[in-house]
Subunit: 410 residues, 2 copies
């Protein structure tokens, strides 16, 4: 296979980011089904949270001024005029010299401005002795302090985690408009590849692993898979399958035939889907060099290597980025690697990014990454790996004991 | 609330690990539905992978010995006697002095022991000029080299990731016995708490946030939620709900009523579920001190604080550990924190673990964690947070610029 447009890993990410745009289709979901989806609308707070001044501790609602100068040896004395129940509207106005018992979360009575903690006062037959002074607003969350009515609470492009759902719930919002899941078409190719459900293999045949691994990742990232089957290394059949799937999905992925001619078919097949066509034809990465990234109209197309380990790594790196962008998630750079020390020297070619499968173990309080030996095509090494050590393309390798970035796989 | 059995974070983890055992109930699933489940059986390889000697490059299958001494200036010459197709059983035996074209993944013919890469030879009208020598087994994965028939491939207790599904697929295994999802019962309590679907709040009322956040986390971790509703601060009603749910689930979780008396009800309610009863009553942690962990028979019970931010943090830390253990996942210590520098000094009491909500930003090539200001009860701070900085109980705080561990929340 001749690679006519080999890019670095960084260039490939940049090409993906420049070309892939959100699919834009939305769906409205009840809150309890919206976890993991990406907001397609800004959320403006329809009301204040909290809707009233709330106590943050158990104690007594007071006027702060009435407690000034209080100490253990010199308490002030306030009249306890009532007890506030949770969930109850308080209408009685607190007057100077008065206090009311209040639980955490309870509503402050009008006229009060602070809460003195239970620990710092004593109710002696209706006479509250205050042993500390409090400041105005002390131990209180004010109306609207958490979320102010009319403020933008969440922006379009936010992925909804448990906490976003919680905040939406607090405002009485029960459904949200989100981007629908990304539809990903996938097919495997290769004359030797047979369904993984094949019980008895003929000599020379290999079961389709990529279907399982790639589909599992798509689903893990919230996408929907449309499986196009296993296609032999035949240009016409490959084209038919690719075009048929392409029409129905947002993102087309295939894993490469590995016979000598098939690799060239794949490029032609991908190119035939539409312009601008193949943008990346070969990536300076190990494993995974024979990767193709293309845009056919507004739809991204990713051609993965046939080797299961390579296909999975490439899909982990680039496929996830394509899916996030299609899904409309706002771009946000966040740290995604833990650090560990490497147990041995590893050489790497400058200009190429290497991803080394490792086991992780703690020794003397530090994490060490131990490369998993074995040829890179072995699927058993994938199962043993806890993570991938990344040797960026600028580096010529790493030395034993050096701190290296690790992409966690567990 | 009097805490009569306050434990450190480390002690609480250790109590959970000592007491919570797998629920043990299994279910058999087709492979494509088994992602994220935990294996309930050891998997023994029923066959060799690969099932035949495979080429790892495109080139020519040869006898290594025939290439010895080859160089650019002094090639050896072999007779090309055929071309191997993918997925085809090869029966022709390679004789001394012969070579056969072979694609990556193709089956080596009997008699051959290695593959010379296309780049290092030239086929001139059926005469192969070899410009390098190869060693026996070079560019070959031997039969059974990846997975050996009869070997234990995966152990009981392994959580099935994409790669485990792939390896199972490669062996023709189409279904697996896994532990069924953990069933978690959850209810909210508090006189002021109303359903999050309530459109108009009365003054003093607060919508139930914890139902959404806790359920979302349970589902994210592969569990099933049974929601027991919102229970007022009444000992009898709390007991009834707790006992009813307890009977139907593997793990009972509740979030605490926050009225003064309710806190004591909760302990009594949890204790009433069975022996040994409450093991942790208060954790030295901020936020989240009023946490209760109990074992009622073989079922763990977790009482969360009422504050949404505290409830979520406690459930993230301890709830996930309880669920992993119930699910039967083999214990494996792995690094779970990234590192960043903290932007300001933060004081912490020795003996108490603190979890600080932070935003993360990269400055001059390094990640910095910036604490999110605001009272800890504010749910808006949860939404803004990318992660939690952990100040372990042994530390008295952190200094500006110090490297700190961060639990990622995005």
């Amino acid at each position: 296979m001749q690679f006519y447009n080999v890019k670095s890993v960084e260039e490939t990410f940049s090409i993906i980011n420049q070309n892939v745009t959100p699919h834009g289709a939305t769906v409205t979901l009840p809150l309890h089904q919206a976890r993991g989806f990406v907001l397609a609308e800004d959320i403006i707070a329809p009301e204040d949270v909290p809707g009233f001044d709330r106590a943050t501790v158990d104690g007594y609602a007071v006027k702060a001024q009435d407690t000034y100068g209080s100490s253990e040896s010199n308490p002030q004395f306030l009249e306890v005029v009532g007890e506030i129940e949770m969930g109850e509207e308080v209408t009685r106005v607190l007057e100077k010299g008065q206090a009311m018992a209040i639980p955490t979360g309870g509503m402050l009575p009008p006229g009060s401005d602070s809460v003195i903690m239970m620990e710092y006062c004593e109710n002696l037959d209706g006479l509250l002795n205050t042993y500390r002074q409090v400041a105005p607003q002390e131990n209180v969350i004010q109306k609207g302090e958490d979320v102010q009515k009319g403020a933008q609470l969440l922006a379009k492009g936010t992925r909804l985690r448990a906490q976003e759902l919680g905040v939406l719930a607090s405002l009485g919002i029960t459904e949200v408009t989100v981007y629908r899941p990304v539809r990903v078409g996938y097919f495997s190719s290769g004359d030797e590849i047979v369904s993984y459900q094949t019980q008895e293999l003929k000599v020379g045949q290999v079961r389709d692993i990529n279907q399982l691994t790639i589909s599992a990742l798509i689903e893990e990232w919230g996408g929907e898979v449309m499986f196009g089957g296993i296609v032999p290394d035949d240009e016409e059949q490959l084209k038919q399958t690719a075009h048929r799937l392409y029409e129905q999905v947002d993102f087309l992925v295939m894993s490469g035939g590995s016979s000598i001619g098939a690799k060239d078919y794949m490029t032609a097949v991908i190119q035939s889907l539409g312009d601008p066509g193949v943008l990346v034809h070969g990536v300076s990465i190990k494993p995974g060099k024979p990767t193709i990234f293309s845009m056919a109209g507004k739809k991204p197309v990713l051609g993965l290597p046939g080797h299961p380990a390579s296909a999975m790594l490439i899909f982990l790196l680039f496929g996830q980025t394509v899916m996030r962008r299609l899904q409309g998630e706002a771009e946000r750079s966040l740290p995604r690697r833990i650090e560990a020390r490497i147990t041995q020297n590893i050489a790497s070619s400058p200009g190429r990014a290497d991803y080394i499968r490792v086991r992780l173990a703690k020794k003397e309080g530090e994490w060490w990454a131990e490369p998993i030996l074995g040829k890179s095509g072995l699927i058993s090494t994938l199962v043993a790996s806890d993570g991938l050590v990344e040797i960026a393309s600028g580096k010529e390798g790493v030395r034993q004991g050096e701190r290296v970035p690790v992409i966690m796989l567990r």
